[in-house]
């Protein structure tokens, strides 16, 4: 008997139509893609990283191509929280999909204030960005150690009833420890992983290609590392994992689910294929149908380890 696979997944209280979320920083606030495909099909959209005040970002060049990927050093260019709440969030909420606000700050107080403000909005979840490698203060400094993660999440948790997803960095000693710290401090989910800190050099000028000297590596180049980290974290925590890192195809996304992710975020793929999320959703559906899967959620952690 052939059935239509159920693609619904749950990240705590948040129900997604399917496991595919457009990742922060690779989809703007949805405006540029709203007339390219039907965004209501998406499992969710995660906003560009928002900070308390507007940020102009880092000087260019901000991008360097790498083997199977890219480095970026955008530096959280964004209109600031107030304009996000008044102009971008209402637009995002009109798209008919789950909206996650990705937020970043320099201090614990920044994150607390932003969570308080977002608590009074209709955003569906907040993703605490503890992992941006391109800003001087805060952010990755919190996410790279278990004590940093625990201190921040514990301080922020009482500020909001919204689901808190904690986006962690691969630039850390042990992803299990930072994930455990997030869970123990009240996080509803962990998003794994942000970019790997990297560098590119121009041998003619003897300068780094990026004006910021270093940047975040993303794309298929980091997929094996991200998969391994999702797999490790899945064995260490009970909260859902949102997996990401170099997902280009439906097969890539399925690999993340098998490794332990409940949902995935698609990032760099959007830059080279604006229809990447749609293609990935279609391919996941076909896969589920092909193997006679009733619920895509059954794939989470279904890896048969040797």
């Amino acid at each position: 008997m052939s059935t239509t696979p159920d693609l619904t997944v749950r990240i705590g209280a948040v129900v997604l139509k399917n496991p595919v979320i457009a990742a922060s920083g690779t989809f703007g606030f949805g405006r540029e893609m709203a007339d390219v495909f039907d965004l209501s099909q998406l499992g969710g959209i995660c906003s560009k990283g928002v900070t308390p005040e507007p940020r102009v970002g880092n000087p260019p060049p901000r991008v360097a191509e790498t083997a199977s990927g890219m480095l970026n050093s955008v530096g959280l260019q964004n209109p600031g929280l107030e304009r996000f709440v008044s102009e971008e969030l209402p637009f995002m909420k009109s798209l008919g999909t789950v909206v996650i606000a990705n937020i970043a700050g320099n201090t614990v107080e920044d994150y607390q204030a932003m969570c308080r403000r977002l608590d009074a909005t209709d955003v569906d979840a907040i993703e605490l960005n503890l992992s941006c490698p391109n800003v001087k203060e805060g952010c990755m400094a919190f996410g790279s150690t278990p004590t940093g993660v625990a201190g921040l999440v514990r301080a922020v948790r009482p500020m909001t009833r919204k689901p808190l997803w904690v986006k962690l960095t691969p630039n850390t000693g042990d992803i299990r420890e930072t994930s455990i710290a997030a869970e123990a401090s009240g996080a509803d989910a962990v998003s794994l992983v942000n970019t790997l800190l990297g560098m590119a050099i121009d041998i003619r000028t003897r300068r780094p290609v990026l004006r910021n000297n270093t940047g975040g590596l993303s794309g298929p180049a980091i997929k094996p590392v991200a998969l391994r980290m999702v797999h490790e974290a899945y064995q260490a925590v009970g909260i859902p994992i949102v997996g990401m890192g170099g997902i280009l195809t439906g097969e890539d996304a399925i690999e993340f689910l098998l490794a332990g992710a409940t949902a995935v975020q698609v990032g760099t793929a959007n830059l080279v294929n604006p229809l990447a999320c749609q293609d990935i959703m279609d391919a996941m559906f076909r896969y589920a149908k092909e193997i006679g899967l009733e619920r895509i959620a059954d794939l989470t952690g279904a890896l048969r380890i040797w």
């Binding site: 703007g28 893609m33 991008v63 080279v272 604006p274």
Partner: protein, 278 residues
């Protein structure tokens, strides 16, 4: 919904000068939509039939490459891309064969704005001359006056001279090493050209080329009171405005404060008065 991802049929690929490649692609909807100064984000590996190669492929190079329209033939439904082979992407692109399928996004970006009357004076340096050919053809179709000032490194590396003559009322070709109409870069050539010519009606200068050359052109236009539009270049990621890597520093004419804008979306063409020339 807007069709952003398209596939065209490669009609021909060749070199017009050492390291300077030219590709003619057939895709009628793109040829009709292309505006001067706009560009396409090109996948540098041939596309499989009917799908975006990128979704199924890990082949290098990873990012698409922004390349502007050099020429457009709406009747034939084709457009010409011209580019210098300068890295892995353009090298791969130059190896396409007739009959290959090319995946691209676009047309993208805010291009040149043609004036209502007067003369379009295009000033290009090196590979910056490419989008100006399309521009001058469009200007002539509108009944505007057209003039081209093009600067090259040497006469041997000068390309598209006949094509520029065909679409321009006047041409003035410069070379750093002599042998053409003027010896020196395109900015200096523009000054000499304007000193010897009185183009019909108000002059709008539209420029594309190396940053120092465009700075000289913009400075001259400011002194002489000509409107000036510049096509900026910055390393791009997506070309569609979502990744924010192609930041160009411009000063809003209303607000006055320098700010970063997306070269791919608000640009690549800006009013010269907005550009922060640093």
């Amino acid at each position: 919904m807007r069709t952003l991802v398209r596939t065209g049929l490669v009609r021909s690929v060749g070199f017009m000068a050492p390291g300077q490649a030219r590709m003619v692609v057939e895709e009628p909807a793109t040829a009709s939509a292309a505006q001067p100064g706009q560009f396409l984000e090109i996948d540098c590996t041939p596309a499989a039939d009917g799908e975006c190669a990128r979704s199924a492929s890990l082949r290098a190079p990873f990012l698409r490459r922004p390349i502007s329209f050099c020429n457009v033939d709406r009747v034939a439904g084709t457009f010409t891309l011209a580019f210098r082979v300068s890295g892995a992407g353009t090298d791969a692109l130059s190896r396409f064969r007739t009959g290959d399928r090319l995946s691209f996004l676009g047309p993208l970006g805010h291009g040149f704005t043609l004036p209502a009357t007067g003369t379009c004076l295009a000033v290009g340096g090196g590979i910056g001359v490419y989008p100006l050919l399309h521009l001058l053809r469009a200007a002539r179709e509108r009944g505007l006056g057209t003039a081209a000032v093009c600067g090259y490194r040497s006469p041997e590396e000068a390309f598209l001279l006949d094509e520029f003559r065909e679409v321009s009322d006047r041409t003035f070709f410069a070379s750093d090493s002599g042998g053409l109409d003027f010896t020196g870069h395109a900015g200096a050539a523009l000054e000499a050209f304007l000193a010897s010519q009185t183009p019909a009606g108000p002059v709008t200068v539209l420029t594309c080329g190396p940053f120092p050359m465009m700075r000289a052109v913009a400075g001259l236009c400011a002194r002489q009171g000509h409107a000036c539009q510049v096509s900026l270049e910055e390393r791009m990621g997506c070309g569609t405005g979502i990744c924010l890597v192609c930041a160009c520093k411009v000063r809003s004419l209303e607000r006055g404060e320098p700010e970063y804008r997306r070269c791919c979306t608000e640009g690549p063409v800006f009013d010269a008065r907005e550009v922060v020339w640093e």
